[in-house]
Symmetry: C2
Subunit: 365 residues, 2 copies
C-alpha cells in the first residue's frame, strides 16, 4: 500500500499514468489533424497544465471565469471558457480580454449586444451547439438563429467569430466502444449538415468538440477541427464503465485512513466521505457504489476485486464493504486506496494531489 504520511483523505496522482493519458490524446489529435485544446476543469492544476505544454498544447479550455483567471496567471494566453457567457462576470471578462486571447460561448443576440457595448478589447466567440446532450447551446437545426448571430459577429469589432463548440455529454450514456462511435457518428452528421447549410468552406470557421469518450475512442472526426476533452488526464471508474479507458489508465486514487473494522459484516469504516469523494455513484449488478478498493498493479492501479467497494458515505464517514480476502488485509490505522467514480468532482473536493511515487505535493486551484 502507498503511504506518504497520510493523515486524512488525500488524492494520489500517478504521474506516469497521467502523462501517458496526455501523450495518447495529443497523438490522437495529431493523427486526426485536430487542434488539441484540453479542458482544465478536471485537474485545475498549474503543474499538470505544464505537462500539457510539454506535449505541444498552446490553447486550453476551462469551465468558469475564475478558472480562466487562474490559468491566465500560469501564463496561458489562449483560453476558451466553455460555459454560456455569464454577463454578471463582465468585469473579470473585460480584464481577461485585455490580457489574453479569450474565447467565449455566445449563444444569444442579447448577450452579443451587451458584450459589443461593454468590451474594450476584442474577444473570440464560439456558438455552442446542442448535439444531443440537451444541456446548453443551440440546436444545429436552428439555422436562422445561427445566421443571425454570425451576421452580428461579422459586423462587430469586439466579437470575432471563431466557429462552433459542442460538448456531446450524451456520450456518458455509452457502455461500449460501439456506443461511443454511434454518438460520435450522430455528432459528425449534425456538424456536416450544418456546414452544408452554411455553405462554408472548411477555412471559414472551426468546430471544437469536447468530451472524453468520443475523443478517446472515436475514429471519425469528419467536420471537426479541434478537441477539448478534460477527464482523460485522470480518467475514473465512470470512464471505465462507459468504455473510454481501462482501469489501469486511471491516474488518481484516494488514500483514506481506516478507522474501524467490523468482522461480522466485513465492513471497514474509513475517514473519507461525501466531502471528499462527492456523492457521484455507479450501479453495478444492482449495487450502488461510490468507489472501488484499489490494489497496486504493474502499471497503475487495479481493482482489488469485484466485491470490495465504497458502499455508503455520509459527510466524513465512508463504509467499505470488503471481500473476506480484502478485509483481512486492513487493520485500523492502515491506509486503504479507493478509485473514484468521478475524478473531476473528487479532485475538486480534495483540492490537491500527492505524487504516488515521491509523495511530493501538486497544487490545485
Amino acid at each position: 500500500m502507498q503511504e506518504i504520511n497520510i493523515t486524512k483523505p488525500t488524492m494520489l496522482l500517478n504521474k506516469q499514468v497521467c502523462r501517458n493519458n496526455i501523450r495518447r490524446m495529443a497523438q490522437k489529435a495529431a493523427k486526426h489533424n485536430l487542434k488539441f485544446k484540453p479542458h482544465m476543469k478536471t485537474h485545475q492544476s498549474g503543474e499538470i497544465g505544464q505537462w500539457l505544454r510539454e506535449y505541444g498544447v498552446e490553447a486550453v479550455t476551462v469551465s468558469s471565469v475564475g478558472m480562466a483567471r487562474f490559468f491566465a496567471g500560469y501564463g496561458w494566453k489562449d483560453i476558451t471558457i466553455a460555459f454560456p457567457c455569464n454577463l454578471r462576470e463582465i468585469n473579470h471578462i473585460k480584464s481577461l480580454a485585455a490580457d489574453i486571447s479569450l474565447t467565449l460561448l455566445v449563444n444569444k443576440l442579447s448577450t452579443a449586444q451587451v458584450l459589443q457595448e461593454q468590451l474594450n478589447y476584442p474577444v473570440n466567440t464560439y456558438i455552442e451547439l446542442d448535439t444531443g446532450s440537451v444541456r446548453t447551446g443551440l440546436l444545429p437545426s436552428l439555422v436562422n438563429e445561427i445566421h443571425e448571430l454570425i451576421s452580428f459577429f461579422n459586423d462587430s469589432d469586439m466579437l470575432q467569430w471563431k466557429g462552433f463548440y459542442s460538448h456531446p455529454g450524451h456520450s456518458y450514456e455509452a457502455r461500449s466502444e460501439d456506443d461511443i462511435q454511434s454518438v460520435q457518428q450522430s455528432v459528425t452528421q449534425q456538424i456536416i449538415s450544418l456546414r452544408n447549410e452554411l455553405q462554408s468552406t472548411p477555412e471559414d470557421f472551426e468546430v471544437c468538440i469536447g468530451d472524453t469518450p468520443t475523443c478517446s475512442k472515436g475514429t471519425d472526426f469528419s467536420g471537426i477541427d479541434a478537441i477539448s476533452p478534460g477527464n482523460f488526464v485522470f480518467h475514473d471508474l465512470m470512464q471505465v464503465q462507459i468504455g473510454s479507458c481501462e482501469v489501469n489508465d486511471i491516474a488518481v486514487a484516494v488514500n483514506c485512513p481506516v478507522v474501524e473494522r467490523y468482522a461480522d459484516s466485513g465492513q471497514l469504516a474509513i475517514y473519507g466521505g461525501a466531502i471528499h469523494f462527492s456523492k457521484e455513484s455507479l450501479t453495478r449488478d444492482g449495487t450502488t457504489h461510490y468507489g472501488l478498493v484499489a490494489a497496486r498493479g504493474s502499471k497503475g492501479w487495479t481493482i482489488a476485486d469485484n466485491d470490495s467497494y465504497l458502499a455508503r458515505i455520509s459527510q466524513e464517514h465512508g463504509i467499505v464493504q470488503c471481500s473476506p480476502n480484502v478485509f483481512e488485509q486492513y487493520s485500523s490505522g492502515d491506509i486503504i486506496t479507493i478509485l473514484p467514480v468521478h475524478s473531476c468532482l473528487t479532485a475538486h473536493l480534495l483540492g490537491g494531489y500527492r505524487l504516488s511515487e515521491s509523495g511530493r505535493k501538486v497544487n490545485h486551484l
Copy 2:
C-alpha cells in the same frame, strides 16, 4: 428576488430563520433537561458559533480534527470530535488536548492503548454506540467489549470516560413525525437496557445523541443526557421530506445566475452545478431533483411551485425545469434562488454565506 451583486453561485443565509432554529433547539434541550452540544459540521462558521453561544451553548461537537482546531481557534474550550478516533492525526490531537477539554470517540481497546501511551494531557472519551445507523460504533448488546473499554478507561490517567455517543442516522429514513418517534423509541429502549446491564446510576456517565430528526421532533429522551444535532441550524429539503421541519424553517438557499433560457422545454440553464450543490438528490413522485426553485415567503423562503426544480447538474452547469409561470419570471442574467437538498454538503462546497437581508459576508472554515 434577492440580489446582492451576485456574480456566481452564492449561499444566502437568512439570519432570523437560523437564529429561530437555534432558539427552538436550545429551548427544547432546556425543556427536556438535556445538555445542548450542537454539531458544527453543518455551518462550519465562527460567527454562527457565536450565535449558538448567545443561546447558552458552551460545548460543541465537530466531525474532524481539523474542525476541532478551527473552533478551538474561536475560543471554544469543550469540543467533542464525533468521529472514530483517527490515530493518524495524533499530533494534532495531542496539541488540542493541551489546550481544551477534548472528547474523543474511542471504540477499541487498541486505540485506547495508543492514546494512553502517547498523550501528554488527558482527554475525555465517549464509547460510540451503533443504535441502528449501521455506520460506526459498538452494538449496545456487546456488553463485554463495553465493560472492557470502561475498565481500561477507569485505570487510565489519560482517558477519562464520559459516557456514550450515538448518531441514529437511520432517522433519515423517516418520512413523518411518527416514523421519527419510532426511531427515537428504539434508540431510548437500547440506551435504557444498556444502562440496566451496566447497573449504573444516572450520574455514572452521560449519553449524547446527535441527529436532527429525533432532536427536532422526538418527545421521549429517556436515558439521554445531551443532544448534538447539526443540520437543524439550516435545515434543508431532506429534513422537510423526513418531517423534521417546514420549508420556511430552511435558513439557506443558493443564488445562481441564469445563463440560458429554453422556451420549448421550459428549462433554464444556470451557473450552479455539482461543485456547488453536491450531487445529493431527492426523489419526489418518481422524479429526481437536486434542489427546488424558491420564492420569498413572509418569514423565510417558500417553494415557488411543485413543478420547478433543479433537474440535472454537471460540474458547473445546472438545468432547472420550470413551470410556465416560473419560467416567465426569469431572463438570462437574472438570479434564481434554489433551496438545497442537503445544506451541510452545499455549505461545505460554497464555503461561505451572504446574509440575505444585508448581503454582509459570513465566513466558513
